[in-house]
């Protein structure tokens, strides 16, 4: 079998595995979100924290809790990074410098995991564990919590209550993420991922050179990095590093893990709104967009256009021998379709159009299937916009899941949609206008612009992958990308929760003959169309100057 055939089978096997996981994982998530009983350990936690687990919050209270938790997290992580040299297991490393600590704290709290540092030379083991890994858990849980609050807005009527943020946060961490992490970390160790607290080993190679082999609690961070769609590598090379991703089957497992929550959440959504078909329709929208993107990026990478890939005979620059070109391309698609941003190959060295697809995936708003939680609320906002567009076409008041989409709802949805492109385009334009920011580009011509555009796209969409030739460890990029990540995360979240509050307050309208059937293929197709058209209109000019100019 050739490399292309093997790559195609990989895609088929992922589709089969995700389809098989859809029901059990979705039902499991549903039970976590709706179960009335608290575990005993959870009760202890609520008592320690001093919150009433049965007291529900309105949208404002929920949003303030999200923001309070995230603000405290940023400050805590910033202090941790600045003080790492005074704590244990620092490996003698100095404090992370202020602008980089700010960037890293914002990055990990927003589920972005953009890294302007390289782990093996900057971070001690304790800050990797108790600083960064903690945010890998909690930032994923925050995203899911906000998505669940939005779903409650659809599912409930004539109420202000959207659930309790603290309960949602603790439950997702304890019941969903932690059990999978414990099992998965050991699986990764069995495959070859390192996991120790050693400072490393000095090897004397047969060629007569010295080689410093790093250590670290890698496997325990690796699993949650994928499962929580975080993406921040323990080492600079991320999932290309053999200590993080040692074999071709761990590569498959990583792709599966970073997609599975995103693709299964629609099932939980469908059950919560009392119509499983609604969940399936949303999952199918995600699947269509994802498959299209996976096939496109594989096609571009296998065709290997561009002078260097043509000279080489394949797009192997930046690709590991054990993964090969197509399976790296599928990883690249999955990591940018979600908010993961882990990389098992160098996106900057991809063909112009292959790298362009990775960028366009993020520009879709990361909704196919998107990050943990953020993918679901992203696609639901787009579904709201779609019923609004459909309502305009037939001249009826739009409804979705028994809720009227009136001026208030559509304002929240529009503001949500406009935030990210605003951040991307303004940020990239400002960087291109400044000489000090332009010199960070490694590549020249359109590819250099692509590096900058990719950086702001990645930050605003909380992805975290990079065209890593860009030297982002400068005061300008550390500061502005940190701000971009925070705004790109929390401003949309506030709009989502506002939308949830507006929906929950409504009395559900009964289904009539004129109601748009939102579980049918027609509607699913319309959502796909709205996503593609809205994104194309927003980003085409920028893409034309970068990847399209280089690749066409």
């Amino acid at each position: 079998m050739g490399s292309t055939g093997a790559g195609a089978l990989l895609i088929v096997s992922l589709v089969v595995a995700l389809a098989a996981a859809y029901r059990p994982v979705g039902d499991w998530l549903y039970r976590v979100f709706t179960g009335r009983r608290h575990w005993r350990v959870e009760r202890v936690i609520y008592r320690l924290v001093g919150v009433d687990p049965d007291g529900e919050q309105n949208w404002g209270g929920y949003a303030r809790s999200v923001l309070a938790f995230s603000a405290v997290s940023v400050l805590f992580l910033y202090a941790f990074l600045r003080l790492q040299n005074r704590l244990w297991l620092s490996l003698g490393r100095p404090p992370v410098k202020p602008d980089q600590a700010w960037n890293t704290a914002a990055s990990f709290v927003t589920n972005t995991n953009w890294q302007s540092y390289s782990g093996e030379s900057t971070m001690g083991h304790l800050v990797q564990m108790a600083g960064l890994t903690v945010q890998n858990f909690s930032s994923a849980a925050v995203g899911i919590a906000v998505a669940v609050a939005l779903v409650r807005g659809f599912a409930r009527g004539r109420t202000g209550r959207l659930g309790n943020f603290w309960v949602d946060l603790v439950r997702v961490c304890l019941r969903v993420l932690l059990p999978v992490a414990v099992v998965g970390a050991l699986v990764f160790v069995a495959a070859g991922a390192v996991d120790n607290l050693s400072a490393g080993h000095d090897a004397h190679t047969p060629a007569g050179a010295a080689q410093r082999l790093p250590g670290g609690p890698v496997a325990s961070q690796e699993i949650i990095k994928e499962f929580g769609t975080n993406g921040g590598g323990f080492y600079n090379a991320n999932s290309a590093h053999p200590f993080e991703n040692p074999t071709s089957w761990t590569n498959w497992l990583q792709i599966f893990l970073l997609l599975v929550i995103g693709f299964s959440l629609p099932r939980a959504f469908g059950r919560m709104v009392g119509d499983k078909r609604q969940g399936l329709a949303i999952a199918l929208v995600m699947a269509v967009l994802a498959l299209g993107s996976v096939i496109a990026i594989n096609g571009f990478q296998l065709a290997h256009r561009g002078t260097v890939p043509q000279a080489v005979g394949a797009a192997t620059e930046g690709v590991e021998a054990r993964f090969g070109v197509p399976q790296s391309a599928t990883f690249a698609a999955a990591t940018t379709l979600t908010s993961t941003g882990a990389v098992d190959s160098v996106h900057d060295s991809y063909t112009a159009l292959g790298g362009g697809v990775a960028m366009a995936n993020m520009m879709l708003g990361e909704v196919a299937p998107g990050g943990t939680g953020s993918g679901l609320y992203g696609i639901l906002v787009l579904a709201v916009i779609t019923v609004f567009v459909a309502g305009l076409m037939v001249g009826r008041t739009p409804e979705y899941l028994g809720k009227k989409i009136s001026a208030r709802e559509i304002k929240f949805a529009s503001l949500y949609f406009l935030t990210t492109p605003g951040l991307v385009l303004v940020g990239a334009a400002a960087a291109m206008a400044l000489k000090a920011a332009r010199v960070s580009m490694l590549n020249t011509g359109p590819h250099g612009l692509s590096e900058v555009l990719y950086a702001y796209t990645s930050a605003a969409n909380n992805n975290g992958s990079a065209f890593a030739g860009l030297n982002a460890d400068t005061a300008w990029y550390n500061t502005t990308l940190g701000v971009t990540m925070l705004l790109g995360r929390f401003v949309p979240m506030i709009f989502v929760l506002g939308l949830a509050g507006a929906l929950a307050a409504q009395r559900p309208v009964p289904v009539s003959a004129g109601t748009l059937r939102t579980h049918q293929p027609l509607f699913a197709g319309m959502v796909v169309g709205v996503v593609l058209i809205a994104v194309a209109l927003t980003y085409l000019p920028a893409l034309a100057l970068g990847p399209l100019a280089e690749g066409l």
């Binding site: 325990s220 090379a237 394949a314 930046g318």
Partner: protein, 284 residues
Amino acid sequence: MRLPHWLSRHVAALRVLLVLTVLTGIAYPLVIVAVARLPGLSYHADGSLVRARDGRVAGSRLIGQSFAAAGGAPLAQYFQSRPSAAGTGNGYDPTASGGSNLGPNDVVDHGPGRPSLLTQVCARSRAVGELEGVDGRRPYCTPDGVGAVLAVFRGEHRVVSLNQPCPTEPFIATYAHVPVECARTGEDYARGVVTPVRGDAPAHPAVPPDAVTASGSGLDPDISPAYARLQVARIARIRGTTVDNVVRLVDRNTTGRVLGFLGEPAVNVVGLNLDLDRAYPYRG
């Protein structure tokens, strides 16, 4: 005393964060580190270390190494790894993992000591071809191993070979009936249209793709079976053994696709070279 609402919310947030830090940031990683001490897991958890005959740590089976002398010249008695962009010199520095990040159209050299990706590919292909005694030519490469790239100045009757500084003789004498000049240092050729020239090299070069491109990690322990096959004859000759014996060791260090479709077949260079040293020591 009751705290104001906003303050008590932040206090609760801090407490939740501390609880989660203890659970997911301290207890969980330490449990994994402890369980990873179990027999069967500890070898991997420690980094899959491999030892030379004298018992010293010779590296990790998972982390690639350079098998070149300090100056960069390949040690002919060893299978050669892929090029690496991790660290300086011969690469393969695990304290600086990563790829080159150079783009698919990085074809014009950036000055002395800063070759373009195309020139790097061409130079590597030429060097591997010489070492293995095969044709090292590639499309878009000059015979002297740099990127075959012209700056064409429209309407000025002028063409410059950008990657061939004077007094190097350009790889073609004329382009569209215009004589080709060598590149003078310090001169600005930005107005010229960058035009890579395909040349007449075979479409499927004898030197395989992985031999001329750096990996993503810069620590790739593997090479393709094709690149291993290319090196077998040299190894057998230098180590004074038969090709069959070397092929047997290559096969022993080759991993196929898992389940028949996951990943690519790959030959572990670190394991292979250590096996060679054990079975057919080099007496140079």
